[in-house]
Structures are given as C-alpha cells and as structure tokens.
Amino acid sequence: LYITALAFALLGVLTGLTVIVAGRALARRRLETAPARRPFESGSDPAVHAWSRYHVRFLPYALIFILFDMEMVFMYPWAVVFFDVGWKALAEMGMFITILVLGILYAWRERGFDWD
C-alpha cells in the first residue's frame, strides 16, 4: 500500500515538474522591462489605476441559478427510493417541481433572468 501511495506521489510530482519545465521551454520569452509589460489598452496609456468598483449586474441571475441548482440535491435520494415507493414518490416530486416552477415564473416576472 505504501509503495503504491509513494508511486502515485512520485507520478504527481513528475507530472507537475514536466508541465513546468515544458512550459518554460516552449513559452515565448518576453522582455522583463517595464515598457514591455505595459498593458495594451488599444494603444493608449492607462489614465487611472486598475482598482475599480463596479456593479455585478448579473448577481440576481447568479443567485437564482445557485438556488435552483441546490434543489437538485433533493432529487438524488428521491431517485434512490423511486422504484420502491412508486406512484406516491412521483406525485410528491411532481408537487415539489410545481412549487419550483411557480418560483421560476415569479423570478421571470420580476425580470430576475435579465442579465442587467
């Protein structure tokens, strides 16, 4: 067991090293001077510092996605017992999904799916 673990660790280290060495060998070299690191900005010099705060306009969209994505978790145990419980399980899941669909329709009406 220890030998297998050691072999895997060695393989992992070797893979990592290979990627690093190959990357260094194959990548194109850049000048390390400050003018060579200048951002492109379509040909103009940057006027202000890069730190800036902006509104994440797609936040409601992202939250709704996570919310409904999490509901999927309840479907895994349901799928396990579905054949044992039968029609009763189907009806219960139907009710659950209906409630979810009402939620989706409400979010849609409130323009929750607009990217802005």
Partner: protein, 428 residues
C-alpha cells in the same frame, strides 16, 4: 524549435496608416498572417501605408510589448513615416505582398536573436513608480486619495441604478483591431457600461491627399466628382466590395471569423447575386440577428439632427442617396432602399440589400455613365479648391449621442457597424 516556429503562420498586429487598409485586407485573405487582437500575442508588427509622424512614440511603445523573437515589417509604396526608426524593419512594397523572398526576409529578421529588433528599445523605467505613502501604501490619504503606482484612482459617479460607482476613463483606439485605424475615443465606463463619451479624436492629421489614392472603393465616386467618365458598373462594384468588407469585419467582431473570411474573399470576386444570397443566408442563419438587433439604435430624428449620410442614414429611414437624382440610375430602375429601426441589424440589412441592388444594377445598366458621386459610405462632396470630402466626418457625430448606455461589447459592435474611415474624415 526555431525551425518549427519559422514554419508556423505568423501572427501579426496591424498598424494601418495612410492608404494601408487595402494592403491589410489583402494580407488577411491571402493567409500569410493571422491577425492578433493585441501586440502581446504577435510575432510581427505589420505597418501598412504611411504612418503619421505623430504616432512615433506609440509605435515604439507597441513594438516593445511584442514577445521575442519579433520583427517589424512595413508594406507601402511611400515612406513608412512613424515606423521608419524601428530597428531591423523589413521594407517592402505592395507588389511584394505575395513574394516569398519578402517573407523569407521577415523570418530571417525575426530569427536573429542577437539583432537590434530583439533587444530592448526603451529604458527600463516604470511609467508610474510606486510611491509607498499612506496607510495602505496607496500614495496618499484614505482609500481614494493619492496615486497608487503613480496613477490616480478613478472618481465616482452615479449610475442608472442610483449606485455610486467608479467612473473609469477608458480609451477605445487608436489601434483597436477591426475598428477604424486612428479613431480614438475616451469613454467613461462604469463596470461594463459606457456612461458618457468625453473625447472623439482622429489621430490622422488633416491632409490634402486624394481619396482615390487612399481607398480603392472611393475611387469611382471621386472620379465622377472630378468630371471623369465612370460607368454604373464601376460605382456599384466599388459599393459591393466596400459593403462586403464591412460585413466581413462585423462578422469577425461577432466571433464568426470563418464566415468573415468568406465575405472578404467574395469582396475580391466578380459580382454574383446567387452566391451572395447564399453567403448572406449562411451569415443570417448563424444567429446574427440575435447579436445585432436592438444594438446601437440611431433614431430617424437623431440621424436627421446629426446630418448622417450614406447607408448609416438610410438604415435609420432617411431616403437620402445621390443616385436618386442621376438620370442613368433612374433609367435603370433605381429606388432608394431604406430600413426603419436604425440599429446594427438594420445597418446589416441595409448593406445586404444594397449589395443585391448593386448586382441588379450592374446587370441591367452597367455600361451606362453615371453622374452621382455616391460612394459606398455616402456621397462625396467638394470642399473648395478642388478638394473632396467623404461621409465619415459627418457620420462621426453619431458616436457621442448613441454610445452612452451601451455595454462594452455593444459599444464596440456599434462603432464597427458605423463603417467609419478616419483617413477619409481627415481629408481637407
């Protein structure tokens, strides 16, 4: 490794100067160069035509950001202007574009790692050094004061959602690939939305050059205005070519590069309505309408107020076309085509319909002599002392009114959809 690298297709970043647009179109379609969106990914700085002298410091700064090995090439029939001082620059005329020897010279210049072109050109000094003052090393008092790395923090302004957000001055151009070379806009951007336009600048200095020497698609209309005999076929072929090149550029912006290349190749082929219909059909099946509809709307009132001309005005519903007053065009059954919505999709439909119309006019009355100086972008007019002026100067005014409120992608797409030519706009 060097041999493998030499065999690969070169990635080039273009700098388009006076009369260089046509050369760049040729290089893109002949497959010698793959365009890159930034010089940081390029093998080659491709200088086309004569670059204005005022661009010199920007040209050197851009060249310095190219990774090694690198080279610069100038294609043009006159001096390179601002690119002349670049070390080891390969000079070639437009006749050498497909000459294998030119490309061997470029590969040799790039491959010589000890040559001056692969050594630093500029002094290694940070443009905005770290100040290290203040509680966070930000260079001043509080989070908003001072100049971290020598640059000030962006000030804040209220956004349409009544939030106070950073208002970042952001430059678009003058070397944004795909947008008109020389056009520099300074936009105040909040997140990904343009709040306002603070500057519209043409980096081409005023010039007395002749438009026909700058852009071949302008030549027939310029000849009409000069009193020369020009056929409807010559005028309409130029229009067809310009519209197809415009469509190729817009498709590349939409991520449809392969279709764009097909349009660019069609622009150099003889006019054929059947193949154009299938080409436009292929583009429109690729969700183009979804991308363009509702973007960058210019209302009819705004177009009237701003005195817009050409297909840009016609896409907003203004039936203004010099060909409508030409008896030769009237005899050929010409009618002024317009659209209604004035958005990017309407501009696409307008140019598409004008392409089909051009094919029909060439077939019906190609040999007749025309008197209408309607260039592809709009009517050419005389500006005293025999000088000609084009439509781009008039259409530039659309930017300030229509850009605010657009998201970044829509803003860039909108500018590309206007079909501006900054060289034409600089003519005096």
């Amino acid at each position: 490794m060097d041999r493998l690298s030499a065999a690969a297709r070169l990635r080039g970043f273009p700098l388009v100067g006076w009369g260089g647009e046509e050369t760049w179109r040729h290089l893109r379609t002949n497959g010698r160069i793959e365009p890159t969106p930034a010089p940081h990914d390029a093998d080659l700085l491709v200088c086309l035509g004569a670059l204005p002298e005022s661009w010199r410091s920007e040209v050197v700064k851009l060249y310095e950001t190219l990774p090694l090995p690198r080279a610069a090439v100038h294609f043009g029939d006159e001096g390179g202007g601002a690119c002349e001082g670049l070390p080891g620059i390969v000079r070639a005329t437009t006749a050498d574009l497909d000459d294998g020897l030119t490309w061997s010279r470029i590969a040799a210049a790039r491959g010589d790692r000890t040559a001056a072109n692969n050594r630093p050109l500029l002094e290694d000094r940070p443009p905005a050094p770290w100040r290290g003052i203040g509680p966070h090393g930000q260079g001043g008092e509080g989070m908003m004061g001072g100049k971290p790395y020598g640059r000030p923090m962006a000030m804040t302004a209220e956004d349409p959602d009544q939030l106070t957000l950073d208002d970042v001055p952001t430059a678009l151009g003058p070397f944004f690939p795909g947008l008109p070379s020389g056009l520099r806009l300074v936009l105040q951007v909040q997140g990904d939305r343009v709040r306002t336009v603070t500057k519209v600048e043409n980096r081409f200095p005023p010039s007395e050059r002749q438009p026909r020497l700058l852009e071949p698609t302008l030549a027939p209309a310029a000849a009409v205005l000069a009193g020369e005999e020009v056929t409807i076929a010559a005028l309409e072929q130029a229009r067809l070519r310009a519209h197809l090149n415009w469509a190729a550029n817009l498709l590349a912006f939409c991520g449809l590069d392969v279709l764009g290349k097909r349009f660019a190749r069609a622009a150099t082929a003889p006019p054929d309505a059947g193949s154009l219909r299938s080409l436009f059909g292929a583009a429109e099946r690729a969700c183009l309408r979804f991308l363009l509809q509702g973007v960058g709307r210019i209302s009819r009132d705004a177009a009237e107020r701003r005195h817009l001309v050409g297909p840009l005005a016609r896409a907003s519903g203004i039936a203004r076309d010099a060909r409508a007053e030409d008896p030769a065009y009237a005899a050929a059954g010409f009618t002024c085509l317009t659209q209604r919505d004035g958005d990017c999709w309407a501009r696409w439909c307008q140019r598409r319909d004008e392409c089909f119309q051009a094919c029909a006019l060439i077939e019906r009355a190609g040999a007749r002599l025309a008197t209408a100086p309607e260039a592809p972008g709009g009517a050419l007019r005389r500006r005293g002392a025999g000088r000609l002026a084009g439509a781009s100067a008039a259409n530039l005014t659309a930017l300030e009114e229509s850009l605010p409120g657009l998201e970044w992608f829509a803003a860039v797409l909108f500018v590309a959809s206007l079909g501006l030519d900054m060289q034409e706009a600089a003519l005096r």
